[in-house]
């Protein structure tokens, strides 16, 4: 019990790092993903090919390898990153591949007929995008983006491997002095669970509150 109390505050502090890692990676991922998705949907043939190769390749390589390439590999080319920065780059770029897939799917999910109807009213292509395609694509993206958020959150634990003091590494430090791995790792698991479960619940409540008939939440898939 004593150990539980003394550990919880330390673990919660490093949870801050975990959340920072997550938010920074998702943000980087979103910025890159917007360009990739727009390139895939509206770009010319070459842009489409480059964007697609980037997306497929990034999705096919384990996050641990991406992290190691950035953290251990780049220094041999003279570029050195802090562990935290390397983790954000790795998680963010990997997430951009998944997010671009989400955005592309959402853009294409807006029916062709509605786009024709918007044109028939005399809208320009830009008006069609901002008044019809984009507002709907955003809504289609919410559920899969929430899912992506929890995936990145869980994968921040892999930053443990390059020495970022996030939740799991902090837990390991405590284990190495207390020899209570079962308790400490279970506490870590519980903290992750509360955040992912809480995020999912929060979003689905928010979604219900602001829902539009015809945009019900879809099943959540693993990336």
């Amino acid at each position: 019990m004593q150990l539980f109390l003394s550990s919880i505050s330390i673990l919660l502090k490093s949870t801050g790092t975990t959340v920072e890692l997550t938010v920074a990676s998702i943000f980087l991922g979103t910025v890159v993903a917007i360009f990739v998705a727009l390139g895939q949907v509206y770009g010319n043939l070459w842009i489409k090919i480059v964007a697609t190769v980037y997306e497929r390749t990034t999705r096919s390589i384990p996050i641990l390898i991406i992290m190691f390439m950035i953290f251990f590999g780049f220094p041999s080319m003279g570029i050195r990153f802090e562990p935290f920065v390397a983790a954000v780059l790795a998680l963010g770029l990997r997430s951009s591949a998944y997010q671009s897939q989400i955005f592309r799917g959402s853009l294409l999910a807006v029916s062709k007929g509605q786009i024709l109807a918007a044109r028939s009213l005399g809208m320009t292509e830009i008006q069609v995008f901002f008044h019809v395609t984009f507002p709907q694509a955003i809504r289609f993206s919410i559920a899969p983006l929430t899912n992506e958020f929890t995936i990145v959150l869980k994968d921040t634990s892999i930053a443990y491997a390059i020495g970022v003091t996030e939740l799991l590494r902090e837990g390991t430090y405590i284990v190495s002095t207390s020899y209570e791995p079962l308790l400490i790792y279970s506490m870590c698991a519980a903290i992750y669970f509360v955040i992912t479960f809480g995020t999912n619940k929060f979003v689905s409540i928010a979604e219900k509150k602001f829902s539009i008939p015809g945009y019900e939440i879809r099943g959540v898939e693993r990336a």
Partner: protein, 219 residues
Amino acid sequence: MNHFIFIFIQALPFLLKGLEFTLELAFISIIVGFGIGMFTAIERVYGGKLAYGFSTAYVEIIRGTPLLVQLFIIYFSLPQIGIHFSPLVASVISFSLNSGAYQAEYIRGAMQSVEKGQMKAAISMGMTKWQAIRLVIMPQALRKVLPSWTNEFVYLVKYTSLAYLVGVPELMAQGEFVASRNFEFMDVFLGVALIYLMVILTITWAFSFVEKRIKIPGV
């Protein structure tokens, strides 16, 4: 470029040895995970209150926590209560339990997407509930689940790399081993990435081939 090829060829025997472990881990885990997933999905759809409660808790807890933490609990924490596993066995157990929860969700989703009328029709013919599940619902559901299954397998191949962190000599670990000897981190890791890429492209292609072969019009 020549330099990379040289390093890559030198590392290749080690990497291929590691790849064997990687594929072994992924194969065993997806198959055991499938068994767990089937069982859990059926409990969640047709089970009683208790079965539903347990299976739901299992799925939610696994999906709500990182795979690496699950692996650490099984490999580092269970010895505390007298349960010891080798790195390889601990990894297989973690990955199977993890994959089982996700596969349960895919199978459940697919079962529920088979229309209710099918169950009614089967029972009206005199089939038992179990016969209906086995002969009518599952053959349709499993076809629908195949694309998710491809994803799941690809996911497992990638995430078996975490077994490196508990000391399984799989592909990632072999890469790290070679790189820390010759200090060619970038080239070796690029080589490792390339192997993962080839393997995953092959799997994706193979599954889409199977998918086409067993497709039934309208299902």
